[in-house]
Symmetry: D4
Subunit: 224 residues, 8 copies
């Protein structure tokens, strides 16, 4: 990569091809607001260099445009993520457990899991293990304890990270979701609860930010 | 009580002696802002009629003034409650379990427990059973299931009511406490979390309102 | 039910058939986000076992899909609730009075009333008895006093529970609604007012949570 | 008054002696932050011209300083108001009913009542008529209906103005008080409730602003 | 009206025909959520008794439906108000000045002005006299001083009521509007500013509540 | 200054002696939390180099300690500012008008004025010109128009900057103050109002930040 | 312009033709809510007098209507600004640097830049120089230091103004944008951060208010 | 430890002696609210077992009481932390960089650093490297890059974590502090900014929670 400029300005975006060299992590793209044409342009530029790329919060229209343009990608409609069909980030050692309180939290959790996998980590999914039905969580706790990092995704009262952090010794990255309604809706109640966790070992990212939690988790694994 | 007027105006307060007849519950007094002299006056007026009386959020100075004036009362310094040494409310059938997340929540819980006992109910205390150390709660859960109503008192992220409501079939009255600090401090995070509980069977009273929770619980028992 | 597994995973949902055995209450379904096909699948699974099921916050499209699939249900368009035409929960002793401040609060109140009835309780409706026209409430108060639990549903300034709790000796479950506009809109003003009620015996559920209030009420009746 | 300058700068304050001529209302002074010496200076300047003056939110120290300086004033320790012993505003026709929800609201109500009286109006006091004990309000409602304006002072859930406005045809000026605690404390819950009143004819002033409500009421009477 | 029942339940609404007798003010209808058919039903019921009726926040579709049904009404598309073409409330003595800060506040102001006129008062309009161009207000101030009550309607920083109240001796009813954006948007900044007005004689109604301000103003005129 | 290190670490602070060279502005010190001994140490270090220094939000105890240590300073008890009696910043061309709405805003305004003067600018004070008594502002407006920058300091509803910005063509730096009480207290209502100003040419600094406004003003003058 | 009236009322707007004479700045129009016909009317009225006019937050439909009506204008679809093809404001001396943190902030920044240019100033654009990739900002800092005023536009955590103000000696006008999501979304987190900037020389306008920031900047230049 | 019970109830606290065995981390004590006598009792109980113990947010009075009782401890008055003079936790591999924006953030940072050291990690301190003086941070960045985890402590606008996370590849644990005043004071502005960080790799703990950040960091190191 010595002889190619590390940043390419393709008009609507500045692409950072040297990013993986610099930080160890490949480039990612935030989907919202990008036209299908722009998405095709971005993916093609990375493909020329065989650099992997992940796009989050994408619509199926964006994925379809890539397919129609002959760009080989995989689209996960739950995670709303597009991953390039070429290149690959370095493998990360260690496992990330991704938990959700309810089924409505799954899209955020899948965004986190896909991001972990894109960056070379291993994601183990434990969905619908919310605290109102404790047996669901307790029946899985031994498997969760295998993880080096736990991502706990929950809306409403956001209690899952507190309960989990008391049961494992790994760091817990808490992701509040906008699931819920009424007082403190939009994830505010969950976010406040997570920041006020009485359990040790919990840190918090922004509401619905599954991607951000995954990057934190991968930086942890990478530090290993 | 036919020949005595049901309300007595003693200058600084209107005392409602017929309250027990009307609602089945004896009179209570909110301590803050009342001088020791006023407190003595109130308790003496009830004592003349042999009517029981409970005062909440009281200082030891108020209790001392009553003792000095020869008024037989019991003062609980943790609950900050003064109970008259005479009279007695009708016995309520059923048990109320009073739980706390941490030790800092105990004053609010004791206010609730003393209020339940004043109104003739039975209060079982289960303190320091917060969700960050789940074994503490699970080891007591069989005893808690004996209760007809559960009062769950918790600050910080306020997750205890959600977890408990998933483990019992009794109604859970949630009391957020002002324990905690930072974002959503003063009990706001806990209150929001409890109102957003994903568990069924939870209703909420105001922050630190142990007395209010106890009245709700006793109305439930009385309805039986 | 010994030989059937208590939980069935039908792909898009984990159905809990043993719930009624465990907690005494049948299963309920939260309608929003579920496709008509998923709704049909869920209802059919319960029907096979002759277990009653209630779905809340449903669209008429969801109800129509069930009818078209030959699943016998009743849909109440005001309560937005679908109830299975088979099975039945155990009868609960006692009555629940369901009150609203205005006519705009009725959908939330009907959700509460239908839920009470689904769980085997008796719901008495007293709608449009808001505090700005006190005669409306006072003319019904004797009938309301017959209830073992009162559910008071109100938006705007949320004063109804305070006034009612001063007139009855039953516990009052307050439901703020999102009716209103301007400062504190979306039910926030009502929720704050209810948590700050100067009347004894009031506890609060989340905004528009008629279902939640009904479960609290039924747990109270069941405790009897 | 032709030959005296209408404003006098006495160093720490600009006194507006022509105010009564201009607006029909005498001058008032906001007590907090003023030294006893400044208070004496202000009152003496008005006394020279025989102009009446009212000072609100005053300490007894401020009143004592005036007495010690030989300035004839009356101090009401509940209203925390000092009124000059000389001069007099024009009489206003009509009556103002001043109501409180509880006894803790009385200082704010007395500030309102004293202000009405200072400006030449007649204030009728109806204290401790909160909505949780409706009989207290209803037993006084005929007398309240005599008023041309109602000032309704209440903390906690702030429901009093809504109930009153449905029972009278006079305009209701609502004053939220900082009485209460927990969620929405400091008068916020009451203020929001009052702005969201479902009753017609209610307008609102700032929390604890008894003085402000009285000025609004007097402007109404003066307009007559 | 002796022989007709004062309230008629027409299925979707309880009509209060005796309202004018009781409070001196005719009935009003809140338009949002009512179908054109319901609107026709309501207006016809009032027409039978020759009672005037005002409907606020109406769409042109609702007005068209009334016209199509042969019900004689007038619709003001700015005020979004429908007034019956029959009956008439008693005349109120005195004038109400209705001011706006900007042109975007006019719909709320027109709702206020139409309501004043419906109830028999006289409304003088002074629009677009906001404080950022003070000459606009000062050039009209003599005419505004003729009013017995001022309604000041403003969004954004909501400064108009403070400035006006310092220039007139009439009471000022402040109406914050939802005009504005960014921090404190939706009228919150304006509402807070109005409640904190440093000027005397200002009271506040909810955001965009032109109707409510008009009722307060008319109660003031009626008191005369 | 070539041979002295530009930053000196005196244990409890890192002093930046090259600051004036770099940015054109001398060093300033934030008083709160600094012991009198630390204050003496800081001022002595600057004195050795004959560099001017300003300390804001200081107590008289801090000023007294400097005097007792023989350090020549001037203390303004209203502005709570200490200025060194040696050195001098370069003169700035142009004038800054500093306005307040009320007398309670003066300490913040004096902090701004002293800071302007310390940095070599000229500050013209126009205090107590709030919008509720418009004649006070209008009588001074010609003098205010001489300023190159206006600093408008106001609490409560914070309307002063909007009115002023409509009357001058200079930029207006708005300073909300914590003067006021009730809803939006602590300066929040004023800050929101100022950010929502309908007048052009207004920008805002944090609540009570007279120092910050002065630095903005001086950067403007310096740019000239 | 002596013989033409300075303000023309064209029915839906009062046009201020003398504005440029009075304040030195030409007239501007806020696009939202104006019909294409109204926009044509406004532009034609200004064209008759050869006065320049700028309209902000406009749709392409509004621009198309002007073109169709033969009114010569330029429309910038990113800035959403329409500028008249005639007249010209006086030239302002000095340069304004307009910075953005990310690409999503560009529309707000372009509104600012176009406004600066309309008023006769020179705008230098430095986009996508956010603090998470500091090299982008540092590589441009020498050019930014040439500016007499800096406008720093940023969403999310709003850190750009703090970093920039520490690197330049010009005043920094901070514009929070509504870019971001979750806790503090809609620009609130950015606005709070900017008001709390630890750097000196920063003042703030409302969220997304690029126009307002430009007027502040031009008043600064004009003051020179 | 086989024969001693893992939890000892010493009346005012339940001591968890098995904690280190279970989670790998020794016990810690939250100082506030504990009497000196209780503190002595707790430390003595741990000393008997030679288990290390850390107490946070302690007063010097608590430390003095321990010294007076002959308990060997070290007290750091800046960190407000007491560490036992016996026992030792297992060594953790890897380094934690602890950064502060300003000097006022140091107590929170020292709490974090002491906690890291207590748990066996290595803490490197980089204080006063806030973003308003970027050279301070950039001059230390190579050393900071040696860390496996970065704890970034900042008040006011809370921008430090965003800038740092863009310069390192380690995970960044952000700690907002209550340093600051005005809008968003008490750390709220900083907390919101950190949750909205545009930089990747940032997660957040509660305001002033240096201890919590350290536990997260140590769990990361331990996972290695």
């Amino acid at each position: 990569m010595k002889n190619t400029p590390p940043v390419k300005d393709i008009g609507f975006a500045k692409l950072d091809f040297a990013r993986r060299t610099r930080t160890g992590f490949g480039e990612t793209v935030f989907g919202p607001g990008k036209t299908p044409e722009q998405m095709v342009g971005i993916f093609k530029a990375f493909r020329e260099r065989r650099l992997p790329v992940l796009a989050t919060r994408c619509t199926s229209a964006q994925a379809d445009a890539l397919a129609a343009a002959g760009v080989p990608v995989k689209y996960d409609s739950v995670a709303r993520a597009i991953v390039s069909g070429w290149g690959r980030n370095r493998k990360l050692k260690g496992r990330v457990a991704v938990l959700t309180g309810g089924t409505a939290d799954i899209p955020v959790a899948e965004e986190a899991a896909h991001t972990v996998e894109f960056f070379g980590g291993t994601a183990d999914r434990f969905f619908d293990v919310g605290v109102a039905g404790l047996h669901r969580l307790l029946s899985k706790i031994d498997a969760i304890r295998n993880a080096d990092v736990v991502i706990a995704v929950a809306g409403m009262e956001g209690a899952l990270p507190s309960v989990v952090a008391g049961l494992v010794s790994a760091p817990v990255v808490a992701v509040p979701t906008s699931v819920g309604y009424g007082v403190g809706s939009g994830g505010v109640a969950a976010a406040l609860a997570m920041l006020n966790s009485c359990a040790e070992g919990v840190s918090v990212v922004n509401i619905d930010n599954g991607f951000g939690a995954a990057v934190v988790a991968c930086r942890m694994l990478k530090a290993r």
